[in-house]
């Protein structure tokens, strides 16, 4: 029966562009084996039994956040070449990832919003941060180039609350002396679908604006006071490009690829910083991971002069009790490889790798918390 499940997994793999070819190989292999079994007149049941044997490589299945999908794909590709271990990652969204890992249908879940320690305990899950990135506001204003506009946290919150409705509002002008701000109305663009990106962004707004915290709150989907909803980063980007005077928020990598006009945001130390890999790293470096139980750490509004205030980490969720310790070990080996050798690939895709210290903390947690059903050690792998 186990092998049937494994075969079924080959289907959704087709969605994964990189995995598609390997799935095809798998298919033709399968077809050959089928032929052989037929010619040797071995019962069909044997095919089911034999399937994992010729599939050979270990397949790790995971589901969750869309934000880290490109880097997980790139890592998986490189790791597959080295070891033959395959990753089948479905980017169905953080909420879906959490749901799937709770139900135990995947080997790991991925979420942009960390689960609270209570919730981790309730479902017997362990959580660790894998990769970081930033969320940045983007604007469409004629004559305003990228990182030219400066916004204070207060102004940003008031815009998204619908309190500031014109670009030439004195509150915006005060932070932008000399800039020629148009009289145009502001159109807020937000995500229409639930998203970890929204979670990070609303978490930041809640930290800097008591009114936002009270009226709107934090969530993957919230009740937006104003604005247009776009589906996915691409939906938000399309609306921002389309509507003059629009302001939205997207993942940093997305803003870069589409050459959108990002803005400078004032951080906790009072300096206006632009979104960039080093400003995300500065935010992560300032964070005190050691004193965050269950790695529950939100990187928004971190101290540090260079820190980008809307930084977030993406997390991996795994069950603490692993029924198949040998497979769990392979999964942890993969993440270990990503921590150690994945930084270059991450930076190329405009992500921010986790600092080494955090990786060590995570691996110490694996050793302590992730065990087999009888409590046997899984990590460190020998």
């Amino acid at each position: 029966m186990k092998s049937l499940g494994e075969n079924a997994n080959a289907e959704p793999m087709l969605q994964n562009a990189e995995a598609a070819t390997s799935a095809q190989n798998n298919r033709s292999k399968k077809r050959k084996t089928m032929k052989r079994t037929l010619t040797t007149l071995i019962a069909a049941a044997f095919v089911a039994l034999g399937a994992p044997a010729f599939a050979g490589a270990i397949v790790i299945t995971g589901a969750g956040a869309t934000f880290p999908y490109p880097i997980y794909g790139k890592w998986a590709h490189a790791y597959n070449r080295l070891t033959g271990v395959k990753l089948n990652y479905q980017s169905i969204g953080s909420g879906g990832g959490i749901k799937q890992i709770k139900a135990g249908t995947v080997d790991f879940g991925a979420s942009d919003a960390p689960l609270k320690p209570e919730e981790l305990d309730k479902f017997g899950l362990a959580q660790f941060p894998m990769i970081m990135g930033g969320v940045c506001p983007v604007v469409n204003l004629k004559g305003i180039a990228a990182n030219q506009l400066r916004l204070t946290p207060r102004v940003l919150a008031d815009i998204f609350l619908g309190r500031i409705r014109k670009w030439n509002d004195p509150a915006i002008a005060a932070a932008n002396p000399g800039a020629r701000l148009p009289r145009r109305g502001i159109t807020v663009v937000h995500r229409a679908d639930g998203s970890g990106t929204t979670w990070i962004f609303t978490d930041y707004l809640s930290k800097v604006s008591p009114e936002w915290k009270k009226r709107v709150g934090v969530g993957k989907a919230v009740s937006w006071p104003v604005g247009v909803g776009g589906k996915g980063n691409e939906g938000v980007a399309a609306f921002v490009r389309r509507i003059r005077g629009a302001i939205g928020y997207v993942e940093y990598a997305y803003a870069l690829q589409n050459r959108m006009a990002t803005v400078r945001i004032q951080n906790r130390s009072g300096s206006f910083v632009a979104p960039a890999a080093d400003s995300f790293q500065a935010a992560a470096a300032g964070a005190d991971w050691e004193r965050a139980p269950g790695f529950y750490m939100v990187l928004t509004d971190q101290p540090g002069e260079k820190s980008w205030p809307i930084t977030g980490a993406s997390f991996i969720l795994m069950h603490k009790k692993q029924a198949k310790p040998s497979k769990a070990r392979e999964i942890l080996k993969f993440w270990d490889w990503c921590y150690r050798h994945g930084a270059q690939a991450a930076l190329e895709l405009n992500y921010v790798p986790m600092p080494e210290k955090v990786a060590q903390l995570a691996e110490a947690m694996w050793a302590e918390k992730i065990r087999g059903v009888n409590g046997e050690r899984i990590w460190p792998a020998n």
Binding site: I92, G93, S94, G95, G96, I98, K99, G185, T187, A192, D193, G194, S195, V216, G217, V218, G219, K220, A221, V222, S223, W224, G227, V228, G229, G230, K231, A238, F239, R242, I243
Partner: protein, 327 residues
């Protein structure tokens, strides 16, 4: 869900399994045929019942929490888990109404042109072109709406209207080109081919004896259309409209692109909104709270019932009309 899949499959398996028996007599063949067709019909009913049952059961949490109030308010707040369907219901109804208001007269015109006025050489290619429109995937209409229609609406049409009638409540709000009106127009374009090709066929079925006698009495083309063809094909025309209506009510992707996806209840045509289908398309995958998910399923139930009621009313109306005309 597994339950209704099961029911559905039961019907299909019945169809596949049967026509194998060789050498059965005619009466046996008849019996099998009757069994198969009855099975297919009953299977369909069972499928619909199963869908309704699953929607009903899965929305229990939301129904218990909000009661009838779910239909009466437009708050949609996933953070506080307070949900109401009114905004999405209004969005669905308003976009569908706009679509029908625009598409029906144009479809009548197209049908009349193709059946009566167009030169012979144009009829077939033009008819095929309209049928081809029906085969365009809805996401293409959505993208066209966002990248072509929305800029025209936002930069030209809406400012022009606002300059003249800006105080009227239907035309208030910032002219950004997307919203209820744009979604309605895209929907109109989408249902146009369905309605017009059926209407053309209905018009073509008008007996030429009737038309010729009217022409012989000196009636103009317009009079023949108004007094002969439309009354004669009324049933078919209403059927065509119902077809378009059903499609407009449930259209998802195209609406999601242009309606603005904002949970608000605003009666301006330029305002942003949300239809039931677009809400489901946007939010289903990431709805992680139990009440949230249940509320979305209840939205699905509401759409199911809305469609059911509207189509039933149309059917009853048709039947009444048929009786009155003695057919």
């Amino acid at each position: 869900m597994p339950q209704d899949e099961h029911n559905g499959r039961a019907g299909v398996e019945g169809v596949n399994a049967a026509p194998s028996a060789p050498g059965v007599g005619r009466s046996a063949g008849d019996a099998i045929f009757r069994f198969l067709t009855t099975g297919a019909g009953v299977g369909l009913l069972l499928l619909i019942a199963a869908m309704a049952a699953v929607l009903w059961q899965q929305s229990a949490l939301s129904r218990a929490k909000f009661g009838w109030g779910f239909l009466a308010h437009a708050v949609w707040n996933p953070v506080t888990e307070n949900f109401g369907a009114l905004g999405a219901m209004y969005g669905t109804a308003a976009t569908t109404a706009i679509a029908l208001l625009v598409a029906v007269p144009i479809s009548l015109g197209i049908g009349l042109f193709l059946a009566e006025l167009a030169p012979q050489w144009l009829r077939v290619p033009a008819g095929t072109a309209i049928e081809l429109l029906a085969a365009v995937p809805s996401i293409v209409y959505g993208m066209w709406g966002l990248f072509v229609l929305a800029p025209i609406m936002g930069d030209v049409v809406q400012p022009w209207i606002q300059e003249r009638f800006g105080d009227f409540f239907l035309f208030s709000g910032p002219p950004i080109g997307i919203g209820i009106l744009s979604a309605g127009l895209v929907l109109a374009l989408m249902i146009l081919p369905f309605i017009s090709s059926v209407i053309r066929d209905v018009f073509l079925m008008t007996p030429s004896a009737l038309k010729e006698s009217a022409y012989g009495m000196g009636a103009t083309t317009w009079e023949v259309a108004r007094d002969i063809m439309i009354p004669y094909g009324r049933k078919g025309i209403i059927g065509a409209i119902t077809l378009g209506l059903g499609r407009a009510l449930g259209e998802t992707m195209a609406v999601t692109f242009v309606i603005g996806n904002a949970h608000e209840l605003n009666f301006s045509l330029f305002a942003l909104g949300n239809s039931i289908a677009s809400t489901l398309a946007n939010e289903f995958t990431e709805a992680d709270g139990d009440v949230y998910l249940s509320a979305l399923i209840e939205l699905g139930l509401v759409l199911f019932l809305m469609t059911f009621v509207i189509l039933s009313v149309a059917q009853i109306w048709l039947r009444r009309m048929g009786k009155r005309e003695g057919r």
